[in-house]
């Protein structure tokens, strides 16, 4: 594909449900980032992968958040026991190399609404 894709685009979850958000980065991109964007705010860093290695997860807000990229391509962000404060747009970005600064290409995001 031409760019970063994410699925689903919209997800409504009842409080307490688990959700899984998928990111397909641009083929061959080494670096993959997850960001969380609350309404009216700028994106905030969650976690970073270099190939399959999760090198930084300092932005994950709680141990209910878990991310993986087992084969160094597709990544999944999982949120367990969702809470209302988890409602946000979750953005995935990829870049070609492992060192900055290199342009990060963002996907369209998954809008998660927890009711």
């Amino acid at each position: 594909g031409a760019g970063v894709s994410q699925s689903p685009r919209y997800k409504v979850a009842k409080r307490g449900q688990d959700v899984a958000l998928r990111c397909d980065p641009i083929s061959g991109h080494v670096s993959l980032f997850w960001y969380q964007q609350a309404l009216g705010q700028g994106p905030e860093f969650l976690t970073y992968f270099q190939n399959e290695a999760q090198l930084d997860k300092s932005g994950l807000p709680s141990d209910r958040f878990f991310a993986e990229r087992p084969e160094g391509s597709v990544s999944t962000l999982k949120i367990q026991r969702t809470q209302q404060e988890d409602s946000a747009v979750y953005l995935c970005a990829s870049s070609l190399l492992e060192r900055g600064p290199y342009e990060q290409y963002f996907g369209p995001g998954t809008r998660l609404t927890v009711t």
Binding site: F33, L91, G100, P101, F106
Partner: protein
């Protein structure tokens, strides 16, 4: 903590006018700054970047100015068009990762809503 911030301005301009969007940052160690454009329902789109050893960089219809003395960044859009209507974010990256290089973690500001009237 370190932050890059916009004071949530909304900018409304007429088509053909020049637009200036401002950003204040607080991390003096930042080495690299980027402006992104985000349209409704889409992810941020790269517009232009600038390294900390520069004070000006020009692209197509856009110019970024960096004033390190007052930690201020601005984006100038010439001959603004309705298609430029979006939320604009500044973001910073610091070259302070392992081995002295950054893997690209970005810190974003809050955003400015630009509305261009035909």
């Amino acid at each position: 903590g370190e932050s890059v911030g916009l004071h949530l301005p909304t900018l409304s301009v007429q088509e053909g006018d020049n637009s200036i969007i401002n950003c204040a940052y607080s991390n003096s160690a930042s080495d690299y700054f980027i402006w992104y454009k985000q349209e409704s329902g889409k992810g941020p789109q790269f517009i232009i970047d600038i390294r900390s050893n520069m004070d000006k960089r020009q692209g197509q219809r856009v110019t970024v100015l960096l004033n390190k003395t007052v930690k201020h960044l601005s984006l100038q859009i010439a001959a603004t068009q309705p298609g430029d209507s979006a939320v604009y974010f500044c973001a910073e990256m610091s070259d302070s990762g392992a081995g002295g290089t950054s893997y690209g973690k970005l810190t974003f500001g809050q955003g400015t809503i630009l509305t261009v009237h035909p």
